[in-house]
């Protein structure tokens, strides 16, 4: 890796995206299993969000790509080549950390130019390219500032410029926005995506913010306990979650009481039968189960003989979110067109309707039923 590999390409020309693949990654820390056989692959130039609850192993997976963590078993492949044993400083991946990763003793421009300096790029060329990158991240006049003279959002922009400076094959972002306030987070999110598309760089973005994942990513990989639950486009993840965990983790999900038929293929819910999508996690069982339905999939109609009660309603614009108590005591949410909702008075008895398609089921959970 010499200076010559860096210089000639203009910043915006875009790094031809590399593929990134995890194969059966395992890693334990003492009794904790951080990764339990993770398989995942990224297409060239795609932005994949790694989403999951805290402690599910997202950071550990990311750090294995950067070379800061070694797997107990499994491999990391970069453009098809096994890099599992490659030391971190030769991985050729760019990483943006959660916060405070800029070198405090170097100006923003020197931070960006750091990697080039390590590789012996001449000072003048370094300076030009650092400036170019700072312009790319929207900080053309901040090169002379030290990190502590920059806001949190500006620091993360500089960190992004630094991560891109060596034209890495893959960009890794570990919750780069989580330390920022909502407004900055929103705009930086859009900007990261714009840059990523412009450069065509394969990007792995770790977050536990589902909104962030759904809005930015080409595909979202949902992790749970060190394993991949589902990897799909945001739409697919939302509309047809593969498991109850994904269903509950992405978006809002109602749990309606249902009864699983003897064949395990049909479920009785709200007085009608529906085919079951997938299978019941934790083994086949008949009897009481929870049926998972999105709020917008429920239809609500006034019916004096209905089995539910409308207890609250909040206007959200085009839709209105209704809070409904089932006679069994459970509370469910329904998002309905605001036009129809206005005809339903609070305290009205209502009847819930389900779409004509297979439904996802889960083990019955005795949840709190307070409205």
């Amino acid at each position: 890796m010499t200076a010559s590999t860096l210089a000639p390409r203009p910043v915006s020309a875009g790094t031809a995206g590399a593929t990134l693949e995890f194969r059966g990654l395992r890693r334990s820390f003492g009794a904790t299993t951080a990764l339990d056989g993770l398989d995942l692959s990224l297409e060239p130039g795609e932005l994949l969000a790694l989403l999951g609850p805290s402690g599910c192993g997202k950071t550990t997976a990311l750090r294995m790509v950067a070379g800061f963590e070694t797997p107990d078993a499994g491999h990391v492949l970069l453009d098809g080549a096994d890099v599992t044993a490659t030391p971190a400083h030769r991985r050729d991946v760019g990483m943006v950390f959660q916060s405070y990763s800029l070198f405090p003793h170097l100006s923003a421009a020197d931070n960006v130019a750091f990697g080039m300096r390590m590789r012996g790029v001449p000072a003048a060329r370094r300076r030009d390219r650092a400036q170019e990158l700072l312009e790319l991240v929207g900080l053309p006049t901040h090169g002379g500032r030290y990190p502590r003279q920059l806001s949190g959002g500006q620091q993360q922009r500089v960190a992004l410029a630094r991560a891109l400076a060596l034209e890495p094959r893959v960009l890794l972002l570990d919750e780069p926005l989580s330390a920022l306030d909502a407004k900055v987070r929103q705009s930086l999110r859009e900007e990261i995506r714009r840059l990523q598309l412009e450069l065509g760089i394969t990007t792995l973005f770790v977050t536990h913010d589902q909104e962030e994942a759904l809005s930015m990513a080409d595909r979202v990989a949902v992790m749970r306990d060190g394993r991949l639950e589902q990897c799909a486009t945001p739409e697919e993840l939302y509309n047809s979650p593969a498991t109850p965990f994904v269903a509950g983790f992405v978006g809002t999900m109602n749990r309606l009481p249902g009864t699983l038929g003897a064949d395990g293929a049909r479920v009785e819910v709200l007085g009608t039968g529906r085919p079951v999508h997938g299978s019941l996690p934790g083994g086949r069982r008949t009897g009481a189960v929870d049926v998972l339905i999105r709020p917008e999939a429920l239809s609500v109609g006034a019916d004096p003989n209905g089995t539910a009660l409308l207890v609250a309603s909040s206007f959200l614009g085009a839709t209105t979110r209704l809070t409904i108590r089932l006679d069994g005591g459970r509370t469910v949410l329904a998002d309905v067109p605001s036009a129809g909702a206005s005809t339903l008075p609070l305290g009205a008895r209502v009847r819930l309707g389900l779409p004509e398609r297979p439904v996802l089921i889960d083990q019955a959970r005795n949840e709190e039923t307070s409205a």
């Binding site: 760019g94 800029l102 003793h105 390590m118 030290y146 620091q155 630094r162 060596l166």
Partner: protein, 309 residues
């Protein structure tokens, strides 16, 4: 070590938290209202009384000569005397010993403190830090005796390894240096530990991620960030060694020329009476040396650590 005269060299003891300051808070430093100065007034007052008065008294005494009749006159003769012959030799001897031991201790302490900070052995950190706290403040006659018993002419190790035949003598410049290192290294370990704690792991990882080797990380990131602490730590050690008295006096007496020993002997008048003026002038010399060292430190710090201000 019994810190004698201008232990005041001790500047803002390193590990002063400069590194721990969160690197955020933009624009906070622009203008500080004048009222901010009010807060420092008690400190300045304290310094004026506790440091200023003794120095003033010392200076007054150093510039005064009294003849046999008891009349006093202003004179520079005392200073002239301290910059000549055995007095100058003792001053230079002290500077040499202090600079050398402070430098060696600084260099030795860095890997030691780093090992302590990064070690996974449970309790090691606490054990080393408390031991350092004790040893750094151990000194004087007991320390001298401990070394005499181990490395003196009839010491345990001297006998066991036949060091005597190999030309070893504890009562030499190098012998004394080793004794000084014994309390300077722990002092520096204590100073460096918080600064090393302040090195964020992300900095190392970001450096590696940018293609730096471990060595390049130390050269271009860790050392520059630690530099202010190393610098002020060095000055702290220099001042400690420079002003140490009891250990040296108990061990080598006046066979190694040291300014604190000379001051003591001038004051106790074992050579001539009426040498108090010389002792005070030597004290002033020490203050000047200490001030020079601190001046150089501040200059270096300002030139190399603009990022801190």
């Amino acid at each position: 070590m019994s810190s004698a005269a201008p232990g005041a060299v001790v500047n803002r003891a390193a590990g002063d938290g400069t590194l721990r300051r969160e690197p955020q808070a933009p624009g906070r430093r622009a203008s500080r209202p004048a009222a901010g100065w009010l807060g420092v007034v008690p400190l300045l007052g304290f310094a004026a009384v506790m440091l200023g008065l003794p120095v003033a008294a010392m200076a007054a005494g150093a510039f005064t000569a009294s003849d046999d009749a008891g009349t006093t006159s202003v004179t520079a003769a005392n200073f002239a005397a301290t910059l000549d012959g055995p007095y100058l030799e003792s001053l230079l001897g002290s500077v040499r010993l202090s600079a050398l031991t402070a430098a060696v201790a600084t260099v030795l302490s860095l890997p030691l403190a780093h090992a302590v900070v990064t070690s996974r052995i449970r309790g090691l950190r606490e054990a080393v830090l408390s031991a350092s706290g004790v040893i750094a403040n151990l000194g004087g006659v007991p320390l001298a005796f401990a070394f005499v018993a181990t490395l003196g002419n009839a010491g345990v190790l001297t006998g066991a390894f036949g060091l005597g035949e190999k030309g070893w003598s504890l009562y030499s410049f190098w012998g004394l240096s080793i004794v000084y290192l014994y309390f300077l290294v722990p002092l520096m370990v204590l100073t460096l530990t918080p600064a090393l704690d302040g090195l964020r792991p992300q900095w190392r990882e970001a450096a590696l991620n940018n293609g730096a080797t471990g060595l390049q990380y130390w050269r271009h990131v860790a050392l520059p960030i630690l530099w202010p602490t190393l610098l002020s730590g060095f000055v702290l050690l220099f001042g400690t060694a420079f002003s140490a008295y009891a250990t040296a006096a108990a061990m080598v007496g006046s066979s190694i020329p040291l300014v604190t020993v000379k001051i003591a002997s001038a004051l106790t008048g074992d050579v001539l009476v009426g040498q108090a003026g010389i002792a005070l002038a030597l004290g002033m010399d020490m203050i000047i040396v200490a001030a020079l060292v601190m001046g150089v430190q501040l200059l270096l710090q300002r030139r190399t650590s603009a990022w801190l201000s």
